[in-house]
Amino acid sequence: MASVPATRSRPARFRPRRTPVPSARPPRRGVLSYWRQYLAISPFYLVFAVFSLFPVFFSLFLAFQRWDGLSDMTFVGLQQFQFLVKDPVFWQSVGNTLVIWVLSTVPTLFGALVLAALVHSVRRFKGFYRIALFVPNVTSIVAVSIFFAAVFSNNFGLVNAILGLVGIGPIAWLTNPWLIKVVIALLMTWMWTGYNMIIYLAGLQAIPPEVHEAARIDGAGPVRAFFGITLPMLRPIILFTVVISTINGLQSFSEPQVLFGTNAANASLGGPGQAGLTTLLYFYQEAFMNNDYGYGAAIVWAFFLLIIVLVVVNWRLVQRGRKE
């Protein structure tokens, strides 16, 4: 911070007419003298402080209280976390989230890479393919979820109708605990493959063609070139998409909420057997439907700790790969 911006220090030959303080070094300007700049960027920080920073710490405070949102809070210490450890639904929701995350992230990233390689090598209609593959990502999640719910409906859905035509009996897509997760993961894959494909495509275009040319001259086929050149050079981009997908995947909420949240009379979200109950959905159910804000806050903070553990493991793995 000590360095003064270059424009402010004048070259010696342009001697200022009036020198206010006869000192060798220009006086250090205090933080306050930059108030205009700080004022100009303040809207973001104010909004951030009110809508992001404060809620984060308030929820930490809430995790040690019992509060229904209206009456007085009571301090309960670590009681909410004691409940949490013994709550089978919480652990089930964590399991659901992780399963859905794996089921969606792996095909998303793999499919995106394949699609990006295909779109990269295609010669005509490049723009069309890019837009067509990206459209799912900008479609409203709610609309897509309603569509998926109709298509995979157990008794009257399109998928079961088609399976029926080829002689396969109706499959309980929206009631079987594993198929529920598959449908949610499929929805997320459908939404995010195009997004990751665009990122990979940008990465592919940044690889200098000379490298590929050299490989071709050395006699490498397209598969060898893909694994020998493309993949290693895409490594930082792949890492980026893994991180982004982890964040998105662990925060899955809207998809199961819309798919299995339509039953107003049933306070339990997440579909039959709560097999589609992700942790964030459980937090929403406890905090905003059962008005148990303290327990809701405990859920998200415990989940935050779990994510930290995951991140540390992830980071360790990446670091080890680097040293080799």
Binding site: R36, L39, R66, D68, G69, L70, S71, Q80, F83, K86, D87, P88, V89, A149, A150, S153, N154, N155, F156, A172, L174, T175, N176, P177, T262, N263, A265, N266, A267, S268, P272, G273, Q274, F288, N290, N291, D292, Y295
Partner: protein, 425 residues
């Protein structure tokens, strides 16, 4: 764009002034008791829009009433606004029946309607309904809008095929208890194999619970969800599964199930008639309704309440008692399928005309007596949350073949934990 210092200062000064002005306006909502501008919050279909419109003109001389139809999660928005306080709190607000119990502990956030004159007209409304919006010490938080007396809807043509009686009076005579219901349901399913008398287990469980006088938590705040009355309701629900009469129809496929005859019988509240009609307009004249087996229950129905910040309690109370007097309450039935909570309305022409969708049947003959016979039960603030695991576990029996005994044990242990979390002993 070059930003000169002068322009920048001007812009900042204007922004600051505007912010200050807004803030000043925001905090000027003092709680003087003679405000002229009142706001009313309800949800789409929560009140008859026509009656609300008429109320605006009726009270235009004294009050400007601004009614807002609030979408999304109504309860959540109301709780947040009440907690935040200030002038954005509505002067009159709707509260859904299923949420009422959870507002009882926050009675201090609302005005006691008895003090404003509700106790003089309370006898016009059904006692069991009024009691649900009352604190243990007798403060009246909610003014009843509508109720949801239940009946048994059935398909005349399918009943005929099965050799069952089709006339509502005869059906009522034959299907009185749940055992009668199983017998008739089995007869229907045998004759028309694609047709089932039960939608799904969780729904049936709720209906049987609503028929009873005790729920999951008693007045002394003790957990009673492991007792016989709950176990009996549970067994009734499970029986539909073990006897093969469960249609396993969920919300997503319900419309199709009604239209295609998968459900030949549908247990539901009076307002449910509209759902059936919308799901299967082609079946006009083929549905009838008879009393519920095992006695009437209530499903749904809402209240109007006055938050403590109400700017003019006396006028606000006049407005709600006008909107909900028996005559206007009956109009709510015509406009929005809101079944009135005032029995006097049941004799008005709006209620007593035959319903063409039900082959001209006067459905009030079923729902009117049902409404007056609904038992008084105590619903604790934590009730909805404590009930949830039972329904989830019934879903597990239905969908994953979980053994009913294991499901019962899991449901009770989870319900106990939720009850403890919510402060129930």
């Amino acid at each position: 764009m070059e930003l000169s210092r002068r322009r920048f200062l001007q812009a900042s000064a204007l922004t600051a002034a505007a912010a200050g002005f807004t803030a000043a306006c925001g905090s000027s909502g003092s709680t003087s008791a003679h405000g002229k501008d009142l706001t009313l919050w309800y949800w789409g279909g929560g009140l008859s829009d026509k009656v609300v419109g008429d109320a605006k003109t009726h009270f235009a001389a004294d009050i400007t009433l601004t009614a807002s139809s609030i979408g999304g999660d109504f309860k959540q928005k109301l709780v947040t606004t009440l907690a935040a306080g200030g002038s954005s709190v509505p002067d009159i607000t709707g509260i859904k029946g299923e949420d009422m119990a959870s507002f009882i502990p926050s009675a201090s956030k609302f005005l006691d309607l008895n003090e404003l004159g509700f106790k003089d007209i309370a006898s016009q409304y059904l006692a069991w309904k009024t009691k649900r919006a009352q604190t243990p010490d007798g403060k009246q938080l909610g003014f009843p809008i509508d109720i949801g007396p239940t009946g048994m809807y059935y398909r005349v043509d399918l009943f005929e095929q099965a050799g069952l009686p089709t006339d509502p009076a005869q059906v009522a005579a034959q299907v009185k208890t749940w055992d009668d219901f199983w017998a008739a349901g089995a007869q229907l399913h045998r004759a028309v194999p694609k047709s089932f008398p039960v939608r799904n287990l969780p729904e049936l469980f709720s209906i049987v619970i609503n028929q009873g006088t005790k729920r999951f938590v008693d007045e002394n705040n003790h957990f009673i969800g492991d007792q016989d009355h709950i176990r009996n309701a549970w067994n009734t629900a499970v029986k539909s599964q073990t006897s093969g009469l469960n249609g396993k129809v969920d919300d997503n496929s319900w419309n199709a199930a009604i239209a295609t005859g998968t459900l030949g019988v549908e247990l539901g509240a009076a307002w449910h008639a509209l759902d059936i009609e919308q799901a299967a307009p082609d079946l006009k004249g083929k549905w009838r309704v008879a009393p519920m087996p095992g006695g009437p229950a209530n499903d749904g129905g809402s209240f109007l309440a006055l938050p403590r910040q109400c700017r003019n309690p006396e006028q606000a109370f006049k407005i709600i008692s006008w909107i909900l007097d028996p005559e206007n309450d009956a109009r709510g039935f015509t406009d929005a399928a809101l079944f009135p909570a005032a029995p006097a309305a049941y004799k008005l022409p709006a209620m007593t005309t035959g319903d063409p969708y039900f082959g001209g049947q006067k459905t009030i003959d079923v729902f009117g007596p049902a409404a007056e016979a609904i038992p008084i039960s105590y619903e604790a603030p934590a009730d909805a949350a404590v009930m949830a695991p039972y329904r989830t576990e019934l879903g597990n029996i239905e969908n994953n073949g979980k053994s009913p005994d294991a499901a019962w044990n899991d449901a009770v242990s989870q319900a106990k934990q939720i009850a403890q979390r919510q402060g129930v002993s």
